[in-house]
Symmetry: C2
Amino acid sequence: MAATAPRPGNVFDRNCPSRPVLEHATSRWGVLVLGALLGGTRRFTELRREVDGVSEKMLSSTLQSLERDGMVEREVLPVIPPHVNYRLTDLGRRMARHVRRLYQLVEETLPDVLAAQDAYDRRRR
Amino acid sequence: MAATAPRPGNVFDRNCPSRPVLEHATSRWGVLVLGALLGGTRRFTELRREVDGVSEKMLSSTLQSLERDGMVEREVLPVIPPHVNYRLTDLGRRMARHVRRLYQLVEETLPDVLAAQDAYDRRRR
DNA sequence: CTGCATCCCATTCGATACTG
DNA sequence: CAGTATCGAATGGGATGCAG
């Protein structure tokens, strides 16, 4: 019963099923999609514009992962042309708020980070 | 002056320098390394054990990224055999606390997530 | 013990073209 | 509009061997 022994259900354990879930939410595009959806319901194309640089393919697969994990709800309106809405679930909103704090902190402290990078690179030459 | 126009320094903008920093901290191993270091100073091998499944190579490169970004401090003790300590900087600790809330939320809500996954998979067949 | 260098594979990712 | 299909490029990541 060592204090550091891996427990099942603990994300530090290799086989913990939390890991893939966490990875979907913290993935390159997952973070930004969650953040964008904090602004409210969005259509596919709106997300594509708001999350600058994401490809159709990656947006699609990111949304599918988040939907499967119960973070995002998908609503298909039976109209032509197609109209699909994405919104956060309650769980998704809780995740998204934490995620937002993360990238906001990075944005706020960016000057410090850039300075640290510069110092590191100079130290290495 | 549209409300959704990309601003420089905004992580939603394709060229925002925050993006790679955020990606280091939210990477598969970055999250767990930050979380482990919240427990205090750790040696390389201790991290290797605590972050179950990480390879030497990935732990090494993860620590380098985090050090370069000013999240982690590295202390080399001039002894034989080598002894290297890693600890969070103030900025790293702030990041790590947010990161921890993220994976703790995932751990806590895992049953809901697994149920959502199951429902999604059944819906698809 | 701590890591770097190398090799190599699997997966991810992006661009493009196409469909309902 | 909202995707899927496909393909090549890039990256992530593991295994091994070696050095300080």
